[in-house]
Symmetry: C2
């Protein structure tokens, strides 16, 4: 690369670093709002966040970025696809083109609308008041359809929205996959329903907060979460957030009468954090310093939470320590009973509290509703009833109201309708596919988990997935890492093996 | 005001609001850095802060601001000086003119230099390594002199630097005032030194952290600190910070073997916070939404910490509660002994730990050294020895090293040399002047303090000082509120009365 080109590349990277920093600063403001902000601080916080978003948007759509990208395009094309600079330029171009397609006035209107919609939802949900959010949802739907129209040439109107979160995925790919999964899960759920229910009542004894947090942190420290580059605080809804390459924090919530709540959310968010913390330091502060997609991100949170954290081997090692932390509460519970309890399958109303087997049915319901809404086949007015009908049909449960029905998730009230849910189930599927590849490469991983050691697994994930950041799409990553495109087989094998053992189905 | 003018005014206020928000956001980043940030987060935090400072500086010096101010100048001049809009325009113009006088390249270089200098100081102080910071300090001195040169026409080279923090104050005003104070304090210190030393050993018993914090917070809640608009966290050095009109936080540090440390720092920072929280809500998010000067700010922290919080009347009410919080530790200590202990006068090496009487001697030493450095009469090389000599001369103590000598304060390592210290003593003087006016207006204040009630005092301070924010200069405020310019008399009367009683000097 000659000096002129090098100077252009440096200018582009320096400009992008500002976008990166503005995003990290906004993440800190959001984190503070959820953790420590005094109540009256909220009034101005929204304005501060809107300012940062405007500044970032101005920079993302600055014509100077487009010019530099164009000038560097021949250089990008001279590189092999997996060269770092090729990836830098490819990802920046993707974001630049996406951002400039959406008119600034539309972006501002949508940001303001979703902020209002979110506040309306926060007020309406406890009141079970769907009517109060109906007009917001109607406008969200119309604006989501409009947003898709900024990306003409799609096969399905949801495709551009899905592409925002899970680049390259389309309705044509996801719909048959989810249908296949649904058809495989239905008999598993039905069979398990015939078995005597697992007793998990002891999970609801009194578990003091401090010991819960200490135990959870000892687990994620063993996973490899580095507290010099992160920390855990308490929030109403757990999340992972990133302020910079070396500042990736997680949050949890503690219920003193639900031992699983904080523990598994801590492992889940730590999984997200391990991903971000494992990105190549050479990508720090660039467009590659983030996960590949919503689905790949979720694959890592679910891998650590479920495949590792809810496994029999894991508890073989950790259960004595848990009993030592809660000697009175767990004296009469052996490791088998505990392992069964934290894997209890039971169709329920709330997605975030669902077990591994039924969880995807919640996601598939939402994904289907999103498509019908965007296609114009389902109206907002008919949405609450459609929700209830799908739950009855797929899970055999009926919410008594909309609070635990259509009002239960924040997603449609804080963002577009479309693209918000598929990542959860894609993540579950990928988690098993990645994990199977890890174990195939290093069969000792399973015994190590049984000994409370995670280094081989963590190192393999870092070397094969984490370090690449956003360099590869999910599909590229799957192919590179597992030798296969996205496939259901490892996931179904995992679920059947695990739940056959727990419920003695064989 | 016609519609065109109104539109210009609105545009100016909207532009200023962005500066206000960028400043509030930067304050949050600084607060996080001191409270919760994981160690590795520091690398990028400086860069994020530099970005925000650059964005704010660009906006403060935007020629559009100058144009709007010029267009609104006839309107400003048509208003009485104490009209809100006259003050808005006056204060914005002051900041605009000050900011545009300093070339952007100089401002950036100085910001980068002080960041480096601060880091060098953090490393050098524990090592007692003056040589390591000497070149930084030399550059700071040269840049401080250069900065003053951007404001030609001064009587003393320190005047422009003093004006940044204490607008309108000059060396010509401060030097004789401080000399008069020094001459009045010297015999008081000498006389007290002849008396038997006060026993304060019981303050160093073991006082558990949680009870210390709970007691301190109960006191500032009674002062009127509103925890829905603020909160208290722990940091190495206590401070007050403001993210927005309704988010004003304080920090403290707890030493389990020093009961006074957290308690009085909590009252001190709460005093700063009460000031900011008491500003007229109509000034929220404007250039007036801040204190009048460093000196006036310090007057409020010292008023609540010392005049109220170290008074005999205050402890008359609060000591039983303190004893209840620490029954074992304070069983053998009566209120008189406690009151004497927290007012013990003893010449010492460290400014921030000094008692009320000797504190100003620490400040006066620094103020004098700053002037001589700026005047070119004292070199950086000779500074450490000059420091030791002044301490010996004025306080009769000798630091064993530079760590507790010239390296003890952050000020010269995190900002210019000049203008950084006078506010502390000006604040002490003003605190007594304001308090005397409050008691003259409402003699019941003193009895109320003895009953643990602070409403009359707080309301008077809010109505007469706090609500005005930056509308008036310190001198205007003193004249309006006390009918007098800055005067030493109330302060000397306060000190003599208090310490005569404590040390039985009469």
């Amino acid at each position: 690369m000659d000096a002129v080109l090098q100077a252009k590349r440096n200018e582009l990277m320096a400009r992008w670093q500002e976008i990166y920093d503005l995003t990290g600063i906004a993440a800190l403001l959001n984190w503070d709002q959820s953790t420590y902000m005094p109540v009256a601080g909220g009034a101005v916080r929204g304005r501060q966040l809107a300012l940062l978003e405007r500044l970032a948007h101005e920079r993302r759509t600055d014509p100077a970025i487009g010019r530099l990208l164009d000038e560097l395009q021949p250089y990008a094309e001279s590189l092999p696809r997996d060269a770092d600079d090729a990836a830098h330029l490819r990802v920046m171009r993707k974001i630049y083109e996406r951002s400039t397609r959406i008119p600034a006035a539309f972006a501002a209107e949508f940001a303001e609308h979703t902020a209002n919609s979110y506040m309306a939802w926060v007020a309406a949900r406890p009141q079970n008041d769907f009517a109060a959010v109906r007009p917001y949802l109607q406008k969200t739907l119309e604006m989501s359809q409009q947003m898709a129209e900024f990306f003409p040439g799609y096969a399905h109107i949801a495709d551009p929205l899905i592409d925002f979160a899970d680049e390259g995925m389309t309705v044509a790919m996801i719909r048959p996959l989810f249908e296949e999964l649904r058809l495989a899960l239905a008999p598993l759920v039905a069979t398990i329903s015939q078995r005597p229910p697992v007793d998990d009542s002891f999970l609801r004894r009194n578990y003091p907060k401090a010991q819960q947090i200490a135990f959870g942190e000892s687990v994620i420290r063993a996973f490899g979460y580095d507290f010099s580059r992160g920390r855990q605080d308490e929030t109403h809804h757990p999340f992972m957030t990133k302020f910079a390459h070396d500042d990736v924090r997680i949050t949890t919530r503690v219920d003193e009468h639900d031992l699983g709540s904080a523990l598994f959310s801590t492992m889940h968010e730590a999984g997200h954090a391990l991903y971000e913390l494992g990105i190549d330091p050479a990508y720090a502060s660039t467009a590659l310093d983030t996960g590949a997609s919503a689905g790949v991100h979720e694959s890592q949170s679910r891998l650590w939470e479920n495949i590792v954290g809810r496994s029999r081997r894991f508890w073989e090692h950790y259960y004595p320590a848990l009993q030592a932390a809660f000697p009175a509460q767990l004296a009469d519970v052996d490791v088998d009973a505990f392992h069964r309890a934290v894997n209890r399958v039971s169709p329920s109303l709330i997605r975030t509290e669902a077990d591994e087997v039924t969880y995807n049915l919640h996601v598939i319901i939402r994904f289907g509703l999103e498509l019908e809404l965007l296609e114009g086949k389902l109206s907002i007015d008919d949405l609450p009833e459609a929700w209830h009908a799908r739950y009855q049909e797929n899970l055999g449960v009926a919410a008594p109201d909309d609070r635990d029905g259509v009002l239960q998730d924040v997603h449609w009230f804080g963002g577009p309708i479309g693209g918000s849910f598929q990542g959860y189930t894609l993540g579950n599927i990928m988690a098993s596919q990645f994990y199977a590849a890890a174990v195939a490469a290093h069969p000792a991983i399973e015994d190590e988990i049984g000994a409370g050691r995670f280094t081989t697994l963590h190192t393999w994930l870092r070397d094969n997935i984490y370090r690449h950041g956003a360099k590869y799409t999910a599909q590229e990553l799957l192919l590179r890492v597992t030798g296969q495109p996205l496939t259901l087989t490892p996931y179904l094998t995992y679920l059947r093996t695990k739940y056959n053992a727990i419920y003695g189905l064989l």
